[in-house]
Every structure is written in C-alpha cells, then in structure tokens.
Symmetry: C5
C-alpha cells in the first residue's frame, strides 16, 4: 500500500510549476529544497585541484583569477585547463542568480535550472550551451533528479537538486587522470557527465525487466487482482522512463548533429556512443511496453480460463445432482396407495429401492460420460499428457 502511496506522490509531482502568468525568468524556489553546496574541480593535463563547500564569492574569485590568467596568455581555455563548478541543492535563488551573472547565463536558463520539471533539451546561447538532463536516482521508485549543465569554453557548471552518486566515477577518472578526460576540453567533461547520467537508467530498466518476468510467471500460475495492478504499475513506470529517455535522445542527437562550436569532432564520436546507448534503451523500453500490453491480454485470458474452470465444476456437480435429487423427490411424494393402486406402485415393489438407486446411478453415469466426452472432466490430465508429447516432439524434432 505504501508503495502505491509513494507512486502517487511521484505522479503528482509532474504537475507543479510557477503560478500561471508569472513573469518569465521569475526564480521561485521550492521551499523544501536543500541549500546549495558548491564543489569546484579545476584540472588540466598535469594537475587536479578539488575544493568542496566553496562559497559563491569563492567561485567568483576563481573565475576572476582564470580570466586574468587567460588575459595574460591570450587564450584561456587550453592553458588553464577545465573548471567544473558543481552546485548541489537549489534552495537559494540568490546563489543561482550570482552564478548566472558570473558565467553569463540567460534569465530563462536560470528559471529552468530552478524549476525542476524540465524535459531534457539543449539550448545554444552563443558563448555557451545549456543542457538539461534527468538522472534516475532510485531504480525501484524511479525517483528522478534534474541536472542542468552549462558548458562554456574551459568551464562546466552543473546544478542538481540533491546529491546523487552518478558524478563519482567521472571525478575519479579526473583525479586518476585516466583516459582522455584530463587532456580534453570542457566538451569531453560534459560528455562524461551525460554518459554517467544516461547510465543511471540501466539499473531501473533491468529492475523492470525482472518484474515483467516475475509477472509473466504469476500470470500463468496464479493470476490475482494484485497481478493486474502490478502489470499496470510496470507499464506506468515504463512510461515514466520513456518520458525521460526520448527527450534525452533528441538532446544528444542535437549535440551530435548541430555542430556547436564547443563540441569537438572527437567528442562527437563519443556522443555517438551515448546516442547508441539511448537508442538501445528505447528499443528495450518499447519491447517491454509491448510485452506489458501482451501480458495484460494474457492476464484477462487467464482470468477467463479460471472462471471457465470454476463454472465447469459448478455445472458438472449441479447437473449431475439435480436429476438425482429430482428422482429422490419423486419417491418422497406422499400419494396414497390406499386410494388407488396406480399411486406410486414402485414404492411397494420388492426391489423398488434398488430400482430407484439404479435409475439414479444410470442418470449420473450418463451425465458424467457426457461431460467426459466434452472434455469437462479429467480434461486437464489429457491435455497435459498431449502437451508433454508435443513438447517432447518439439525438442526431438
């Protein structure tokens, strides 16, 4: 029951947003959202500096320092490496506002970052790209968190609602200077983050695949009302994942195709890999959805079949005993023999009782033979036998 409750609150969440007709660019903070914590990583091919819990002004001074460095060297991005500012928690509009000023973000962008129910998308703002992705933070309950990426030349700013763990592998690759990541620009960092976000859906899909299999068994073996409910839940969860994955596919596809200046040709090859994962996921989702629909049909068929079985039992018993009871009823009548020798002479026969029992046995036998011929009784055993035969033939043939 509590599982449904949690589900319901999730469905509700789809709906909230800023009040109708509000000024565009209004930053309305969700009062329950945690206060932002800022983590900064700065790295280039040779070194990596990591700082947790930086204040907004701390970020401002880093940006200023990097700008001075860039100015003194002509072009900042390549020499100064990549700056990754990661903001966790969106509970303070002023922090987001100030970061927006520091990195030159548009006010509609800031509104989207704060309001946490955006679809995945890419927007091209001349000097930087704005990406929205959705991470799956819980495979069972399908909780999601919106992650906003602002990718400029030499810097990436990410915003997320709550601390997730999908960045960790990326950070470790940076720290360990493993792979291409530390020798590439901000576009490769963005790719690595996107890839990690997309991967967060695989366990959820895996979980749903397992549920489907369990439900296939349950439908065949012991379909109950809870089975139908569970199938419905799986279908709804698939819709939820689908709603996250389809737009992500469009966004990644647009990154690959639209030749944003910030995305290098080499990174595009890596994005193609991301895109393949998304396509694969969509394939699996659509297949699961069709299996889910088929399962509902099979469930209905199974329920009908069981009803059939129940009714057969009723029919066999009722139609066997009704004629018998009738016969017993006839010989329970009180017609008076004294009044007439024609009144129920059977009662006074020598073998009257056996005659009556015999008629009953005959009647019952006739009925049961009729039912056996129709396959209503002992049919299961026969069917099983013939199915086993078929199965064996199938295997040997």
């Amino acid at each position: 029951m509590s599982r449904r409750q949690r589900k319901r609150s999730k469905l509700s969440r789809i709906k909230r947003r800023t009040p109708p007709g509000a000024m565009p660019g209004t930053l309305v903070v969700d009062p329950t959202a945690p206060r932002p914590v800022i983590n900064v990583i700065e790295y280039d091919g040779s070194s990596c500096r990591e700082e947790a819990g930086v204040s907004v002004e701390g970020v401002a001074s880093i940006v200023a320092r990097r700008a001075r460095g860039a100015a003194s060297q002509g072009d900042g991005s390549s020499s100064a490496g990549v700056l990754w500012v990661d903001v966790v928690g969106l509970g303070d509009a002023s922090v987001v506002q100030r970061l927006g000023e520091l990195f030159g973000l548009h006010k509609l962008e800031l509104e989207d970052i704060i309001s946490s129910h955006q679809r995945s998308k890419v927007e091209d703002y001349a000097d930087h790209l704005y990406l929205v992705m959705r991470e799956c933070t819980n495979d069972k309950e399908l909780e999601q968190d919106q992650i906003s990426l602002c990718v400029g030349r030499g810097w990436v700013v990410t915003f997320q609602g709550k601390a997730g763990d999908c960045y960790e592998p990326v950070r470790q690759r940076i720290r360990g200077a493993k792979g291409r990541i530390t020798v590439s620009g901000s576009d490769h960092l963005a790719y690595a983050i996107i890839d990690a976000i997309i991967d967060s859906y695989f366990p959820a899909l895996e979980h749903l695949g397992e549920r489907l299999e369990e439900l296939e068994d349950e439908t065949t073996r012991s379909p109950s009302n809870a089975t139908a409910e569970a199938i419905h839940d799986v279908k709804r969860d698939l819709l939820t994942i689908r709603r996250a994955v389809w737009p992500a596919r469009e966004a990644v596809s647009s990154l690959m195709r639209d030749h944003h200046a910030l995305i290098s040709a080499e990174t595009r090859i890596y994005l193609r890999d991301c895109y393949d994962h998304l396509i694969q996921m969509i394939d699996v989702i659509e297949t699961y959805r069709e299996i889910g629909s088929g399962l509902m049909d099979m469930y209905l068929a199974s329920v009908s079949n069981r009803m059939n079985e129940v009714i057969k039992v009723l029919t066999v018993i009722a139609t066997t005993f009704m004629p018998l009871s009738f016969i017993a009823g006839v010989y329970g009548m009180n017609f008076d023999r004294e009044s007439s020798a024609w009144n129920m002479p059977e009662l006074y026969w020598r073998f009257g009782y056996f005659f009556a029992l015999g008629v009953m046995a005959l009647t019952a036998g006739t009925m049961l033979t009729f039912f056996y011929r129709r396959g209503w009784i002992f049919a299961r055993r026969r069917a099983e036998r013939s199915h086993n035969d078929h199965g064996d033939k199938d295997r040997s043939g």
Copy 2:
C-alpha cells in the same frame, strides 16, 4: 448527472458554425454572446495609460493620434510605445467590423474572430500577424474560450468571448513596469499573452492527473459502473485538451521558425520557452492517455476478477449442499418396508440417522478439501500472506 449534462452541451458546441455554403467573410454573431467591452492600454518604457470601456470611436481617435505622432517622428512604433486594445464579448458584428477597418484586418480574419470554434493557428497578413489561441476558462468543466490576437507594429488587438482572468498578470506586469515587457515591442506583449493562455491549461491537466489517481485507487478497491464512466470522461477530457494544445504547439512553432518580421530574435528565445511548456504538456497528456487506456483494461480485469469471486462462492456453496440435499432426499423416499426388507433398510438401522449424517459430513469434507486444494476457499488469506512476504523481500532485496 448534471455533470454529464454540462459535458454533453460542451461536446455539442464543437459542431455549430455558419450555415453551409454561406458567403466567406459573413459575420454571423452568436445571439447569446455578450456585447463587446473595449479596454485600452497604452504604454512605453516610462508611462502606462489604461482606459476601460472605450467606445469604438474612442479607439479610432487613439489610432488617429498615434498615426499623427508616428508621422511627425518618422517611425511610430518605437517612440509611441505599444497600444493594446482588448475586446471582451463578440456580440456585435459592427464593432468587430469597425476595428477591422481601423487596423486593416482581412474579412476572413474577422469571420474567424467571430466564429468561436477555430483551431489555434498563425496567419501572416503582410503588415500584421493573426493568431488564434484557445484559453481554458474552467479547469473542472474544461470550458474554453477562443482568443484572437492581431499583432501589428506597435499595436496588439485581442478579442475574447467572455471576460477571463488570464490577462491580469500581464496587465500587472505592464502597470508595475516589471521585467522586459515595457521596454519591448508589441511582439513581447503578444508573447506574454500567449504564455498566459498556455498556462491556463496547467490547472486543468493537474485536475485530470488527480482524477486519474483517484480512479486508479477506485479501480483496484471498488470498481463500479461509475468508475468506467469516470475513466471514459477523463479520456474524453484529455482528448479535448489535446485538441487545444496540439495546434497551439504548431502555431507557436511557426511563430518561432518562420521569421516573421514582427518577431524579434530576443522574443523568439522567450517563445522557445512557451514551446517547451507546450511540449511538456503534450508529454503529460499522452502519458495520461496511455494511463487512462491501461486503467480501462485494469477495470475490465478487476470486474472479471470480482465475477470470478462471486461465482466461486456460488460454486462452493452449491456443490457442497447439492450432494447433501440429495442424500437427505434419498432418505426422505417412501419406499415401503412392509413390501420388502430390501426397501431402505438403513431407515431401520440402529445408527441409521448417524450413518446418514456421517455420509453427509464426509461428502462435505471431501468437497471442501477439494476446493481448498484448488485455492478457491481461504485463498485470499494465503495470497495476501505470500504477497506480503514478497513485498518484504522486495524491500530488503
């Protein structure tokens, strides 16, 4: 019942229009429509003048004044700010006709303004744009009102059937000179109005989402005929919203893409935000529709299950008591012992009665064991227990 009645009248409204074969551009006024009331707002970056209940000729003189001002300064729009003429009520063809002359509207445009069942669309008439949008004026009953926007350089004329409240936030932003609105042109005003109109559908969608959740619970807990009806109603309401939102999406998309001279690049960024909202709404609508369809399946499954349960009770009781009644019937027969010692000797046994009761108990026990083995009785308790086990495992695993 009255709810259905109102629904029905809404569905009917889809159908009425000008008589077949009427001359194009004929202005046939709905006789029940209220008389038009004209509100005028004129604003620029520094000031805002608002006048309610202006006559048509009042509008004419304002237009003339602005034309003189524009003529004396070369180009009118930037210096003279924006003029917003808002017409509420379409009950007088002559007013619409006169406004059409003042602002140079095409006669097919006027016909569309009057006939209130247009799809959302954008039409480009050289010097101005004509837009039709549909506002949702009641989230529960899904009442809609057609809003026509004529957007020229420096002016916007809006027509609506009845006074709605979706303009109010826009007006307040103009009065308070908040945001970009007062320093931008008529295109930004049009955007603000479109945004407000689109936002009017969110509460309706939210309401339908809540209904769906209630119905999910009801379907599982206590499905009745009213549940099926309610699911059907929600599906129909979703179709209605969908029919309003899809064309709106096309219209906004066309505004963004088709590079109308009147729409500035900056406004296009804002329209992209509108477009995102529409796409999000369509996403939600399609998801809700699939949930609705799934719900109908689950409803049918639930009804079948309940029937199964009812029939099981019947079968258990009937097949248990029929053999018992038969036995009682046998020993109620009147075969005469005097005629033959073979006639029902049990009746004269010492423990004949107990023997009969014993046979009955045995029969009943056999039947009940059979039913228990098949899971027809006390099955629910077992199923619940096993489901709870599974649930716990699920949570711990």
Copy 3:
C-alpha cells in the same frame, strides 16, 4: 433492419468499377444513372445569364461565341467573364465525350468523371485543372456523390451524378452579385464550389456527434445488443466520412501550395480558409473515432458489470436457500424411531420445529451478513450515497 440494408448497399458500392484489364479511357456508363441535364451560367462583374437544360450543341455554340469574343479582344477570360457549365447526371457517355472535346479534357479525365468512386484529387493538365471532390448528399445515410470540376481560364465545368443542393448558395451569390465572386475569375468560382462541397459534411458530422452522445447515455443506462451495433455503425460512418475528408484535405492543400497558374494569390487565402475547415473536421472525426472506441470498451465493461449483478443475485438467493432446503430435507428423512431412539430424536422434541426454524433463520442470517459485508447486497445504495458525497465534495472543493 431496413437501415442496415441501406448501409450494406452503400458498402457494396465501394467495389464496383470497370472490368479488369479494360482499356484505359473506356467510358462505361452506369446503366441506372440518370440522363445528363446541362445548366449554364455566364457572368461577369455586371451581368449574369442563366440557362437550364441546354443541349450539348448549345454549350458548343456558347463556347464558340466566347472564343470569337476572346479572339477579337486578345484575352478572353477577363473581359468575357466566367462560364459555368454544370452537368447533372452521368447516364450518357456521348455527352461527356463531346464536352471533353469542347473543353480539351484528357480521356483519362473523362473516365474518372464517369466512374463515380474516385478519391478527391487535383490533377494539373497544362491549360486546366481537374478536381474530384465528394459531396455528402444525405447526412443520415451518408450518401455521397462525386463532383468533378474542370477549371480553365474563364470557365468551370462541373459534373455530378444527381442533382444536389449544395450549389444553390453559390448560384444565389452569383445572381445577387454578392461578395467577391462576380468580380473574380474562374478560380474563385471553383473555390466557392469546393467550399460548398466541404460544408456538406458538417451536418453529417453533427448528426454523428449527436448519435455518439445518445450512445454514451445508452451505454451507461441500458446497454443492449443494439447499442453495440449502433456504436459499430457510427464508427463505420466515421470511417466513411474520413475516407472522403482526408483526400479532400490533400487536394485543397495541393491547390494552395503548388502554385497552379490558374489560382490567384487572393484565392489562395480563401482556400486556406477551406483548408482550415477540413483540418477542423479531421480533428473532430479523429476525436469522435477515439470516443467511439472508448465507448465500445465502456460498453463491454457495462455488459460485464450487468452480468456481475445478475450473478450476484443468483448467488445470494442460491447460497441462502440451499442450506435451508438442506435442513428441511434432513428433517424430511424417514428414519424410523421405533427401530432406535437415536433415529432423529429432534422430530420428537417439544420445540423441535422451532429449533429447526431457528437453525434455518440463523443460517440465512449468517449468509446475508456475509453478503452484506462483501457489499453484494444493498451495495448500490451505499455506493450511491458515497458517490453523492464525493460529487458534492468535488463541487464544493
């Protein structure tokens, strides 16, 4: 029954056509088709000449006169106004043949004109356009008639199978010289006819909308086999209309977009209006189709529910009376007291009868309580009460 009969003949009509492998351009006249009657209207901005029942040679002489006039003035169309030849009835191939020669129609065109089951389409024959449209001549039975329009510079020739009334408003506009029609060319006349044809489907759609509403009520209130049949009929009628409207949309869209030399820019704006009507109709058709499908589901649900109700009554009565009958049966047994004091001593108790009646009352009470708890009896009343509560809450909340 007769309604179905008529339906059936309509469906059959889809199928007939010229014999397989016949030479293209063969004019095979339907033997039951009425003989053609030709009406001619000639008009320009100032005058209008109308003649009914003209012979083919009469048309030939008019064409010849107009050709002379055109030759003497250089360009004929603008000065000589528009000639509209309207042919009603396609029962004489020679008439169609002769008109084809007069106006330079292609022989495949003539074949299409005669064979009355074409889809709507536009074909561009260098000097003239050939259009096929389908008119709805009966909203209830959805009878259709094919209308062929050949539109040249300064002339329009229309062919229809039987006299319909959709031209009448167009003719009246010509006679009254109302609107743009008399001052525009043949393209505007073609537009006016197309508009009138399209409008002929609105009453049929309106009728279907009403039927759907009736059926929604019927499905909820008293679903019978006739309801299912009626829903099926409405769905089939929607398919029929759809098959007429979709190709019409393509045809009008092609007229608008393909820049046929004969269609002026001004007429294109009017065609956009036609196109909007068609799109609106398609919207309505698709919505109705979805409602129709949903209705079938609701019908099935409703039938299941009713069966459930019936079975509940059976179960309640049967399972209440069976144990009672059994008890009565037991005390109807004839075990002999003389043989043993253990044989049915209850029969000889002082309050044996009341004891038996008491046991029966207790049993019945237990069963009925069980059924009441499960909501099988008096449940409707409870459900109604709770629904009313909900409804009130819904209204007040």
Copy 4:
C-alpha cells in the same frame, strides 16, 4: 476444414527460399514448377505478329533479326515496333539464363525472377527496368503469382509462374489495335500489363467486402465460434492483399517520379491513373481492416450479451423456484405432532395446504416483479418497442 488447410499451405509458402548463405545469383528452380512456355508478340502501328510456344533459340533469332534491322536503320525501337516475350512457367533455369543473356539481364535479376516470393519493386539497370509485381490469380483463396517485367527500349520480357488470364485483355487490345497501345512504345505496353495486374486484386477485395457484410449480419444475428474464425480469416486475407498492394504502390510511384528515361511523359499520366487505383485499394483495405477489428469487438460484445441472457434465464428460474422448493421442503418435514402441539401445526390447519400454496404464489410473484422491474424479463419486448419508436423518430426527425 479443407478451406483452412489450403489457407495454411498459403501461409507456409511465404517462407521457403534459397538455402541460407547460398551464392547470390544462384538459380534454384522449384522442382514442382511447370516447364516454361514462351509466347512472342511483335507489333507496331500497322501490324501484329503473334507466335506461341517459341523455343529459346527462336527468341534469339528474333532478337538478332531486330538488331540487324535496327542497325540498318540507325535506331531500332521506333521503326521495328515492340517485341513482347512472355514466359509462362519457371521450371527450367537454363531457359531463364539464356533469355537473360539475350536481353542483358543482371544475374541478381534472374535470381529474383526464379524465386517467386519477391515484393513488388522497380530496379533501374541502366539500359532497362526490372519490375516485380504480384498478380492475384484466385479471388477466393487469394493465390498469387509473381510477375517479373523487364522493360527495355523496344522490348518487354515478362515471366510468370503459371498461365494467368490477366494478359488476355492486353493482347486483345494489341490484336485489335485499339487505343494508344500499338502506336506507343514498350513503356505503354508495360503500363498496360501493370494496370491489368493491379486490376486482378479488385475482385478479391470485392469478395472480402461481401464476406465482411455477411459477417456483420452473422455477428449480430447468430454469433458462433465459426464467426470469430471467419472474421480472423478475413483479417488475415486483408493482410495478405495489403502486403501485395503496398509495395506495388511504392513501385508505381517510383516509376512515375524517378524520371526513368524509358518512361515517356504521356505514359506517366497513365501510370498516375494506376497509382490512383492502388491508393483507392489501400483506402478500401485500411477501411476494411478497421471494420474487421470493430467486428471482432462487436463479436465479443455479442457473445457477452448472449451469455448475459442465458445467465438471466438461469437466475430467474433458479431464484424463483428455490424459495418455493424450500417452502415445500419445510412442510415435508416429519416433526411429530404427537410429541408436541408446536410441531408444525400448519399441517393440521383447515386451509394449511392453501396457505402453503398461497405463500408460494406470493413468493414467486415478488421475485418475478423484482425481475420485471430490473428489466430481466420481458425486457426485450420493451427494448424493441422503444427502439422502434426511436427508429421512427429518427426517420421522421
């Protein structure tokens, strides 16, 4: 039963083809295919020479003669008329091979000609076109035959599996020199053959339309298991036709659009006519498929309704007689009056028997009234009456 058998063999045939991994261009002849018979027609505007049962070498000599003629005149096709080589029966790979050499056919083309389960398609081989079409040779069983057309400048070679009759009208037009066919080139001959092939599907569609109508009646009147089976069969047949017609549409569309040098502009107009027929057929097929699906729903509804009716009868009888039997049972109890005056005093009342019968009558009356009120008995009559009323209103209104 035998009908299904034949069906089944048809479905199976979809599957056979050359062994997996076989060398492309391998000519594997179906051993049951008849030996090829070659018919040759040579014609130009003035004459027509027809020869049946020509040997391959006979064809070779004709080709050689024509080549000499062409060489002596510069360009062969126009002067020498059109050569049509028609091969019936594909049982000899060497014949196909030799013809391939004579006319310069590609080896993959030859493989396709032999293997008889190709989809309709057009392939452009520089100097000739290769077309595959499927003919319907039996409207009831939907047997199909693959027809391959190789169309070169001045010649057409056709291959078919067995002698069909769809060429006959084309041949007669050639013999009679009727229509454009004899004065046009090989492209017009190809068109004429394609048109004849397409026409071969109309009778099959017509047959399916009739079946659907019969099934609509049957579903309403007397749905049996055979009805469901028949609906399923019609749906499968529609799928089969659809699989033949859709690719044909693509092929003809490609012929029309892709500006193959061999297809003249005039022939393109004729192909547009073919294309229209295909589109019409697809329209009809899709409509029939939707009707078929709706019919299955209606069938299920009808079966449910009938079950409802049966159960109502059971319920009415059972619930009426059970209380009566119970009452009779009560007064059949043997409580001993001697033991107590309280034991069943009714049995000794003066009007005890009438009292019992009265109670029974009252009970039965109450039950029947209850059922009548619920509309379970005599409801049909009432429903019919109200439906007739409605029908009349419908007709008069």
Copy 5:
C-alpha cells in the same frame, strides 16, 4: 517449463553491460566467454591460403608482410588480394586490443566488439568501416550472437562470440573460387558475410510461422491456458527478431546510400538484394505480429464461447429440473388429510400420481421447447448444417 526458463534467461541478458559511469573504451570481458581463436584466409583471384588457430603475433606478421608487399608495389589492396581475419570467442581483452592496434581500430569500437549487446549499425572511421550485425544461432530458442565486421581496404576482420556456422558457405565459395567473390575486393567479402548473417533469421521466422499455424488450429479446436501462453511467447519472439532485423535494415540501407568510399557501385547492387531480403523479413514479421494479435482476440472469443456453452448446459439442466423438483416437493408435503379435506386432495385421487407425473412432463416439455427455440439445445447441429450449406454454396458459387 524448462523452455520458459531458457526464455527467461534470454530476456535477462538484454540488460547486462559495463558498470554505470565506467570510462568509455573500457574493455570488460565477460568471464564466461571462450578464449579467442583466430582463423585467417588470404585470397586473390588465383589462390587462397587458409590458416586456423593463428596467434595474434602471427596475424601481426601477416599484416607486416602485406604492408611491405603493398609498399613495394605502390597500392596493396588490388595486388595482394583480400585478408580475412576471423576471431571466434571474445574472452581475452588483450587479443582484441592488439588486433585493434594492428588494424587501427578506435577504442570505442573495441568496447563495442567486446560488449555483446549492441544494435546493428554502421560507423564510418575514415579508413575503415565498423559494422555490427546480429546472427541468429538457434531458430527455436532464438539465441543470438553479435558479429562485428571491420572492413578496410584489402582486409576484413570479423569478431564473433562463439563459433557459428553461417560463415561456412562463404568460405566454400572462396575456396572454390566460385562467383564474383574472389575477383572482388573486401567490400564484396563483407557483403557475402552480411548476406549470410541475414539469412540466418529465415529458419527462425519459418519456425514461428509454423507455430502460428498450429496455434490457429489449437485456438479453434481446443483453447487452453497453454495456448494463450504460447501465443504470448510467439509474440515475444517476434519482438526479439524484430529488434534484430530493424536496425540491420537501417545499417544496410546506410551502407547502400551513404557512398562510403570502400563500397563499390557493383557491391551496392548486391547490397540492394540484401536490403530486399530484410524488407521482406520485416513484412513477414509485421504480418505475423498482426496475426498473433488477432489470434489472442480469437482466443478470448473462443474461451468466452466455451464458457457460454458450459453455462447453457447448466441453465438447461437447472431450469428444467428445478420446477420438476418443486412439484415433487409439493407432493412430498405432509399436510394432514384428516384435519381437512382441502389438504392435498390430489394425493388421494385415483390418478394423482399420473397427474403429478403429467404436470412434470408438461413442464419439462415447455422448458425444452423454449430452449430449442432459442437455439440453446441442438443448435450446434443446426449451425453445422447451415454452415456446410454455406460452404458448399461458397465453393460452387
């Protein structure tokens, strides 16, 4: 049961992949995968050298030799023939790594080769093409194996998980120097392999077609729960094949259209043949899927029909015997004649017993006539007769 088990493990396999967030290009080897075995074939128009079980360094030396040969002759590919390196088993990352270095494969490519759940695709890496295809290695269980092809100028490297037999016909064609294969380049070899892979799905499809036919029979003849399950399984298998075939179609289409420099025009014609096979397969799959869905409907209809039949038997028997039992019950009442002459005088009539039996017979007769009229008894025989009539008419007509 074990069949389902195997199915389940297959569905599960869809899900596994490298851990979320892993570095791209990480080669994680499946621990259960077999160790790689390398087979090398080198051939040109005149000779063919085949070597099995070559070590990686063996391949390196062959590549080096060929590179020297190419350097000495200017262009290597044409003179040195084609080198085909076939790797079976992916259990050793270092082997794949080394081969990647030898042939210049990208690290994402290597990751894809190792992880065996890729969709079919083509990727263009400047100097070589990377293709993924899926082979069907078991028609019954639908086991699949991923085959990766890297196609460069003069060489093809293939990787597969386990030894399949689909290459064998290709190898034999190379050995026998049959067909174009030995005189063409590496593109033709790639084509031959792709063709063989695609062909591997035909037997599986054939098997499913046969299953469908069996299930059609079973559904009509003796639908059981196992039938529904089997239909569901076939539908799921079709989904699995479809998921393999659709991407293969895209990949082959991209090879044909995108004008990769490596694919010659001649090979493109052969790929068109492959593409045709894929389209044909998709056609068949979609048709089978629709038949499968229709079958599920028919199954439900069949189950409903059978239930109907069962309930009819119950109703006929119950409603016939209930009134009879009631009558017997009435005359089993013990109203005392002594107390009143009105108490059950029938019991003392001369022909009372026959009167009672007569009433019973009359009642039974009435009921049975009623049922016969409604077609509930002996209806099957009548239906069969009329169906036979129809069938005969159908055949003769």
